[in-house]
């Protein structure tokens, strides 16, 4: 059972990783908590479902969902973030909250509030390794997650666009003076953030095969915890923290008692914030966080 639970935990952890990374791109670089990311995730799931329901293959669903969520993310950037760039940090956070309410309502009106389900046969294949049963979708989820995290890490650390992102994360004004295009870089951060949330949404909804317009809320909060634990400024942090929290949750359920699961997750997050505010993999920035 232990091994089986590890597989469960890693799959769940992969979801957390993607959504956490989506949060941290906007948060680490622009210091804005985009609350609507949970709903971008949800939107990705619904778009993915719609594509699969029209008998198109998984990669197409992935592309559409990522694109859809990225477009929504772009709209949020233009409407909710850009005009409030210089306002205190709470203001753009609350305007993204407005978008999360809007998105939930739209999806409820389009697809209904009942769980939307895939026909049972799709994506149900699995194989066994010793005593462990692994779904093909689980492998896809973990695989795509690793690839996407790798791609984002490459982008952030090796490309000029990534240098611009990091420069702005470090100091916006200095970066501007050095000739970094703030608007282009902001766009990039929101776009990648949307792509990741959309990808997470479609993968997870196809894996669990039943989604509602309200799935983004709890996963969003958990992903914020994962982001903090991994460190908002390090891409690889999310890849470590996601599975860590996923496995911690699963083990609590398996051995401790499922009732205290959220206790453990948020307790761990608070502990990390107090002991290592920069996150597990964060650098030595002791004074993180701007004034609100």
């Amino acid at each position: 059972m232990l091994l089986q639970q590890l597989v469960n935990g890693l799959t769940l952890g992969a979801v957390y990783t993607l959504v956490a990374l989506s949060f941290s791109l906007v948060m680490g670089i622009l210091s804005v908590l985009n609350i609507a990311i949970g709903e971008l995730f949800m939107l990705g799931g619904f778009i993915g479902f719609a594509v699969i329901a029209s008998n198109l293959p998984l990669p197409v669903a992935l592309v559409f969902a990522m694109a859809g969520a990225a477009i929504a993310s772009f709209i949020i950037q233009k409407v909710a973030y850009e005009p409030l760039r210089d306002a205190p940090l709470i203001t753009p956070m609350l305007s993204t909250l407005g978008f999360s309410i809007i998105l939930q309502n739209i999806v409820t009106n389009v697809w209904g509030s009942d769980p939307l389900q895939l026909p049972a046969e799709l994506f149900d294949a699995d194989f066994t390794v010793g005593p462990v049963r692994i779904g093909v979708m689980q492998v896809v989820v973990v695989g795509v997650t690793v690839v996407l995290v790798g791609a984002v890490a490459y982008l952030v650390q090796r490309t000029s666009a990534g240098r611009a992102l990091r420069a702005i994360a470090e100091n916006r004004d200095v970066a501007r003076m050095l000739g970094v295009s703030v608007s282009r870089t902001t766009f990039l951060a929101f776009a990648i953030s949307g792509l990741l949330a959309g990808a997470a949404g479609v993968l997870i909804s196809l894996h669990y095969a039943a989604i509602t317009p309200y799935i983004g809320v709890d996963i969003g909060l958990k992903a914020i915890a994962v982001m903090v634990i991994g460190g908002t400024t390090r891409v690889w942090g999310a890849l470590l923290a996601g599975p860590l929290i996923g496995v911690a949750e699963v083990m609590t359920i398996a051995y401790g008692g499922s009732q205290i699961r959220d206790f453990i997750v948020y307790g761990l997050m608070i502990l990390i914030l107090l002991l290592r505010p920069q996150g597990l993999l964060g650098g030595a920035r002791s004074d993180v966080g701007q004034r609100v």
């Binding site: 059972m1 089986q4 639970q5 469960n8 935990g9 799959t11 769940l12 979801v15 309502n105 409820t108 009106n109 697809w111 209904g112 509030s113 009942d114 769980p115 389900q117 049972a120 149900d124 699995d126 049963r133 779904g135 997870i204 669990y208 095969a209 039943a210 989604i211 509602t212 317009p213 309200y214 799935i215 809320v217 709890d218 996963i219 949750e249 699963v250 359920i253 398996a254 008692g257 499922s258 009732q259 699961r261 959220d262």
Partner: protein, 400 residues
């Protein structure tokens, strides 16, 4: 500031228009349904059902010559909004009685107001034990206590599947699910001599969880003959999907919150046993006519999926408002504003003394605790359809 003032005045005007739009000779009945938020689908089908009923009654000549007017308010499944809806309906809209609210959490805060304002409120769905009982005499529920239902569903389950042991999984955030899974079901199974494998530490998840893989793996490791799911259908779908994925093909039993067409699609191979007082494919003539009338309306309504079917809660709210209409007809209520207080008492007395109302599952009346006493069916959902296996009655001595 001018803009804001204009806006505020606009809001007040709309509020005034909405509440002032009642003609003299009208019988007003209120309804509280969750048309937005996580139970939007239930609220929206309830709305269509009530619009249909309103038309049926008015086409047949109304209530003692007065026009029936059903005022439907959305509570977004939020208790605070349900409470304010109740105040608006009873206080501003002068309704005779209120149907709803749907969720038990909303009933908990709305029923006390029903008593305060002396207006009947009857829930179409709440089944958390004791909610109406705590708020007598104005609160009713057209539902049956889960404890009574389990006393019939559990023996059937044991006999049919030869279960020697069961394991429990439930939604710890939800009050009804918690009481079904941690109190009602363990007691029923234990008294039937079936071992509850994790009675002292049932496995839980939270409303909104997408991933229940760890919980299901743990369930599987207990190797039970049957699974008790304490959850509403939308969460139960997630559990069933995961059970199927992990190959845990064991029969499932739960309370009324499981009943829905969505759950039938989740894992058609896994038999699901649950109690119901109505389901869309029921074969009684009355139910068939109801479905034939309502289904096309539901499917053409905006904001609802194209394959939607009438739910148990549509049937329940239809019965509730019909009872109010009957009460008004039989006690000569014509909707005169001066009679309001007396009329409301008439409705309450009618409900309390109701005998043999002709409901979808057979005759209905209400017990001392405000809950319905009516026939129910233990149904088995398999291969995409519900089928009645046992018929029971929620009266203490049996026989409705």
């Amino acid at each position: 500031m001018l803009e804001i003032r204009k806006f505020l005045i606009g809001g007040l005007l709309t509020a005034a228009l909405v509440s002032g739009a009642q003609a003299q000779n009208q019988v007003n009945i209120g309804a509280i349904v969750p048309s937005s938020g996580p139970f939007a689908e239930w609220g929206r089908t309830n709305t269509v059902t009530l619009k249909m009923l309103e038309k049926q009654v008015n086409d047949a000549g109304g209530v003692n010559g007065a026009k029936l007017n059903i005022i439907i308010l959305d509570d977004a499944a939020k208790p605070a909004q349900a409470a304010n809806n109740m105040r608006k309906l009873a206080g501003d809209d002068k309704v005779l009685a209120v149907a709803g609210p749907l969720t038990s959490s909303a009933c908990e805060v709305t029923f006390p107001i029903a008593n305060e304002l002396k207006t009947v409120a009857t829930s179409q769905a709440s089944s958390k034990p004791g909610v109406a009982k705590a708020n007598r005499p104005w609160a009713f529920r057209n539902t049956v206590d889960e404890g009574i239902l389990a006393n019939t569903s559990v023996p059937y389950f044991n006999k049919t599947f030869g279960a020697k042991s069961v394991a429990i999984i439930y939604d710890a955030k939800d009050a009804v699910s918690t009481s079904i899974a941690t109190r009602i079901m363990p007691a029923a199974f234990t008294s039937a001599g079936v071992k509850v494998l994790n009675g002292d530490s049932p496995i839980s998840f939270n409303t909104g969880d997408l991933d229940v893989s760890a919980q299901v793996t743990k369930l599987k490791s207990l190797n039970p003959d049957g699974i008790v799911i304490g959850a509403d259908y939308s969460q139960a779908v997630t559990v069933l999907r995961e059970m199927k994925r992990q190959g845990l093909m064991k029969p499932v039993i739960g309370g009324t919150p499981l009943i829905s067409s969505a759950i039938l699609k989740a894992a058609p191979e896994i038999p699901v046993i649950a109690p119901a007082t109505f389901y869309a494919t029921m074969s009684t003539p009355k139910a068939k006519k109801f479905v034939a009338d309502l289904q096309p309306l539901l499917r053409s309504a905006s904001g609802l999926p194209k394959d939607i079917e009438p739910s148990m809660y549509d049937a329940n709210i239809y019965e509730i408002v019909n009872m109010y209409v009957d009460a008004a007809k039989k006690s000569g209520i014509t909707g005169k504003p001066g009679d309001l207080e007396a009329d409301r008492t008439k409705i309450r007395d009618y409900m309390a003394n109701l005998k043999g109302y002709d409901g979808f599952s057979g005759p209905i009346h209400f017990g001392e605790d405000g809950d319905a006493i009516k026939n129910f069916f233990i149904v088995e959902g398999k291969n995409g359809a519900w089928e009645t296996k046992v018929t029971g009655c929620s009266a203490a001595g049996g026989g409705c």
